[in-house]
Symmetry: C2
Subunit: 210 residues, 2 copies
């Protein structure tokens, strides 16, 4: 039924995107081929490149971020900057508690770790669209660096809690985890963070016996 549509139709683009979403969700990044997406969407494979570029770009485009930065950032920035880490922690843990969102996040993190070269795009997006702007909105210096540090903790938490399930973290009460992780996130948001190219010693390592 989709066959009669002209290429260039906005619907065609959406059909490709929807077929890609389903394939990526089902098979993951590696095992999804552009040819199979094209077949599912009833279009010529060349159209996919036309609309989306490479497979990695298609993936990055159709896998929506599980959160909307324009909603989340103001919510975390509102209030005392000294407790923003707590609000971010609660938000991240709530996401992992929501069944549908957790499934999407887990699928993204899995793709990211199994096909790092392509899925880096997703993580760059999460950092560039959500976490760095968050640090910037709070008025912190080095927002990009802080964003990538926040990312390392949040992705690690997702892995430990929802994918590999390391106990007792995996089964811990979400509010308890949020409270325990909040100071780390707060540090990355507003604490002293040394510039990435500053190679000075991190502190007094020398006085300790070995």
């Amino acid at each position: 039924m989709a066959r009669g549509r002209r290429p260039g139709d906005a619907d065609t683009r959406e059909q490709i995107a929807e077929a890609a979403r389903l394939r990526f969700a089902e098979l993951g990044f590696d095992r999804t081929t552009l040819r199979s997406v094209a077949t599912d969407a009833g279009v010529d494979p060349a159209l996919i490149s036309h609309y989306f570029g490479s497979k990695a770009e298609l993936f990055a485009t159709v896998v929506d971020l599980p959160v909307d930065p324009s909603v989340v950032i103001p919510r975390i920035v509102a209030g005392d900057p000294g407790t923003a880490g707590e609000r971010l922690a609660v938000f991240a843990l709530d996401l992992l508690t929501d069944e549908a969102k957790r499934t999407r996040i887990v699928s993204i993190v899995r793709s990211v770790t199994s096909a790092p070269e392509s899925a880096a795009i997703i993580r760059e997006r999460l950092t560039a669209e959500l976490l760095a702007p968050l640090a910037r909105a709070i008025g912190a210096d080095q927002p990009e660096y802080r964003g990538s540090l926040l990312m390392s903790q949040i992705v690690g938490l997702t892995l430990a809690r929802a994918i590999v399930r390391i106990e007792p973290l995996a089964s811990a009460d979400p509010r308890s985890v949020a409270a325990s992780v909040a100071p780390a996130l707060q540090h990355y948001l507003t604490g002293p963070v040394r510039p990435p190219d500053d190679a000075g010693a991190p502190g007094s390592q020398d006085g300790s016996p070995s």
Copy 2:
């Protein structure tokens, strides 16, 4: 030449282990079969189960931890407990800077995320043999919970820095990253961490405008 050995020989066990190490390193956990390991080692597949149990157990046994807890723990515990997070951060970043060790760590983290159900064993081991004992040696309460929180940050850091390479974290000077991550690790080691089953609110969320 190994064919003449009796089953039960300690050499047979080591031959299986060595064949498994090579296969896992080359193909990863999923694509390695016990049959191929048996062929490489010149033994009957049943011998593998006899010595090692399941494929997951074989994997956990032959993939050595990239660190020796009996060496690392005393080094991090020695000195002021208030700077142990810094020593742990420097140690973790040094590991990722060492080419050979980084390769092994990356291989372990990749297996862990691509085959979570089996490789959870590795992460449990890292937590149970290294990070929880570290928290215990420092005299912290809830060492297992602290160990799993430390794990979440260290694995996330490994992913961001060495696997997916999120910038500017990936290219940042290791000493700078260690200094920036140290307070988070210090918090997990000796800061206030709420028990995992304590469901109280993490703080004052209500006063902030929305």
